[in-house]
Symmetry: D2
């Protein structure tokens, strides 16, 4: 089962800046070899379900190891059986509609 997720990891109890921990998660994601793209409020990742979910778990482990006593994460997660669709396909599908309507 192929999945596209949007992952937003929020470490608590380490102060107001969390960019060091988010950068560590980015390295976990990059090390996985999965397609991914960071935005201002999370990171899109796509691939086989178990591989993607292993990345999410590893992010929690790494951020706890860095000293964060608490983490709250939000994930959106999409699967479909009617056809294959990549992250790029999703964006392109909307942009095509925007072009058509101009």
């Amino acid at each position: 089962m192929h999945v596209i997720i949007d992952l937003c990891v929020v470490p608590l109890g380490i102060g107001v800046s969390v960019s060091k921990e988010i950068a560590a998660c980015q390295r976990v994601i990059e090390a996985s070899g999965l397609e991914h793209r960071m935005h201002a409020y999370g990171t899109n990742i796509e691939g086989p379900w178990d591989d993607v979910m292993a990345v999410v778990k590893r992010c929690h482990e790494v951020v706890h190891e860095m000293g964060a006593p608490r983490i709250t994460t939000t994930i959106k997660l999409g699967t479909r059986t009617d056809r294959e669709q990549s992250m790029d396909d999703k964006v392109e599908s909307v942009e095509a509609k925007l072009r058509d309507s101009q």
Copy 2:
């Protein structure tokens, strides 16, 4: 790693009513034996990370098997290493603060 999640599974492409599919997810959750509690916009589940995540995956599989071609799910997911905390502890912790302030 113990986790408390809030799971909201949204099947697409099957019309406006999704309660049959949500009920099927509830049966998956109940069959897992994990602590859980449904509310009006999702279900809280707690337990060991891998067991909880296996339930999420099984929900997607079951809802696709029922005919939904597309699913978009939202998960909130909390872990902590400083102390054990159950779903009931979280609610009680806030309710205690509410009582104290009266």
Copy 3:
């Protein structure tokens, strides 16, 4: 436009315990007079769109006033035009399906 939301406010930069701030949000919600129900990972609130959104904004203001320099909130938010549906209706709709299948 009637809306049912699930609100989860997460204050950052104030340490690992956030129950005092969540309790303050509960008081904001109670003061609004809107239907609401707390669970272990957020609070369901329902009512007219503008009233519900005013509560969300007030929660951010109050939690900042309490000293939290940063807040990250997750909201799920449902509207429908085909029929009226309360929070209780949503839960009952799933529970009826669960009873039917036994």
Copy 4:
């Protein structure tokens, strides 16, 4: 109060393809003049709280007017009082950490 949100609008009851409705939301966002950036699982928007929330409400209205009887939306929403931070600042802050660690 300045806010950065991540908005994901999901129309239900209109079939499996929702790109036409998402494109309509993009036009609402563009018409607002607010800074925004679409990704594969939502759109980041930033600006004054009331302006951003007016866009979210307008998206629901427009998608219902297009015929969707039901919408479920997920929003992440960040505010901070310690300093100003744009969407670009957030991404740059993580990317700087990634460069430093190489």
